[in-house]
Symmetry: C2
Subunit: 284 residues, 2 copies
């Protein structure tokens, strides 16, 4: 069984490995796609990171993350725009498929989520010319509504696609099953995203019952309640057949286990509960 | 300043008071509306509970709660339907404005949220003839998406209203700011709910940053990020001017304080950040 369609978001093994170690550990188990975070790239150094990725022929399914636009004043927004332009350059330097956007929540002290959303649109509009110029796709990741206040005020796929249509070319969505699985409009919005070629990434993990922490208690695929294969089928039918990228924040479980065990479990569960087996939906 | 439009959901003081004590404590501070939970009614006894409420002329803005329909088999659903019919009778016995529905999440072991949603519609359809016969409005409460797995698989006002329209008369929505504040379609869906006279209750508390527990870390109005007055204005403009009902689950803070202090704070914050002051939006 091929691992061509499995990617490891390096947050999943952030406590175990730096970038070089993570690449080695992935390759040792046959995984050839990763998605690093900016802090991991900075720690290694951009040039060296790019060389590690290039020389090992790794596919980079996304760089995490740009975004965090809303600010208390225009200066703050301008600074976020500049930082996002640097992120675009970094994504290009490592050959990423896209730059993933966690757009940001409410500025400190604010209760005006509409204003925050306007700042997000303004910020994205300000960076898009640069992104288009160097052909780096921008992937808006709608985050679960429980992050609306402090991480991202774009919380549904429908809303993310509305923003994409407002902004035009060069911007699409990262669909993370953890953030959107609950949405009664999920299927229709995945179809909509596919029809406009805006699906840029597909992230997976699982929703645990109970969930003990809003941020750091995400589950391994198969340990929770998300019908990951069904969501995958919808995404493939909508036209996206790129890798499924495992992104698990798990301070009390997976971050405490040996990296090799985590990666082996990702592979096992990818085959068991994520990958499509039906002939008609065979992932190429 | 009148407290006519302030109601206390008795979950807010569940660790401090039983029903009789809660009624006394509310009246001592001028609060004349409450919303009890079924376990509080059962603890007191239905006849005595009804007498306490009647003799003190309390308004009951809702009985919490019916629902919890999805089950692993038809027998489980049938049992839920019978229990919900009893809840309707109890709501009638205490003269409640409505029976609030927390519809239920996924049955144990299930990953099929569509099937759970179908069971919810089936369950509601099964109880509605009885509810209509004794004129007890059924209020579907869309719960925050973080409860989709274990408490309620209706998670947006839009979805709740779609279900209402499917079911017809006798069913509406309870709009709890905590559950819906993040929704980019909130305003349009409140307007829609008002246009069909389906707003049956308005619950309030606040979203804390950070939120330390998915269930039991709700905030006092004013301590979080929700623009409660703005949501209230939209609800009043849409045609609902019933009480704002304070419902706070707070295991580490408000549940540990003296009940008198909690109620006094509810009153203070109701005036400060919830009640409408503009002449044109004066609550009657």
């Amino acid at each position: 069984m091929s691992l061509r369609n499995l990617s490891i978001n390096l947050a999943t093994v952030r406590q175990q490995y730096n970038l070089a170690q993570a690449v080695d550990a992935c390759l040792a188990q046959g995984i050839t796609s990763i998605a690093p975070w900016r802090d991991q790239i900075h720690e290694t150094g951009l040039a060296e990171a790019a060389e590690i990725i290039r020389s090992n022929q790794m596919r980079v399914t996304g760089l995490c993350r740009g975004g965090m636009f809303p600010a208390s004043d225009r200066g703050g927004l301008a600074a976020a725009v500049e930082d996002n332009k640097r992120a675009i350059d970094e994504a290009a330097a490592i050959g990423a498929d896209c730059l993933v956007m966690v757009v940001g929540g409410l500025p400190k002290g604010s209760r005006d989520i509409s204003a925050a959303r306007e700042m997000v649109v303004d910020g994205l509009a300000a960076i898009l010319p640069h992104a288009r110029a160097i052909r780096m796709p921008i992937a808006i990741e709608p985050l679960h509504p429980m992050y609306a206040a402090d991480r991202a005020c774009i919380n549904t796929l429908e809303h993310a696609l509305d923003v994409c249509e407002l902004l035009g070319d060069g911007v699409g969505v990262a669909i993370d099953a953890y953030h959107v699985w609950w949405d009664p409009k999920l299927r229709e919005q995945i179809v909509r995203a596919g029809a406009s070629n805006r699906i840029l990434a597909h992230h997976i993990c699982d929703w645990l019952v109970p969930t003990r922490d809003l941020l750091l208690d995400r589950g391994m695929m198969g340990d929770g309640v998300i019908d990951l294969r069904s969501i995958r089928r919808t995404i493939v039918e909508a036209g996206y057949d790129g890798p499924q990228e495992v992104e698990i924040f798990s301070s009390e479980n997976w971050w405490k286990r040996p990296g090799e065990e985590v990666l082996a479990t990702c592979i096992e569960r990818f085959h068991e509960v994520c990958e499509l087996h039906e002939k008609s939906f065979q992932e190429r």
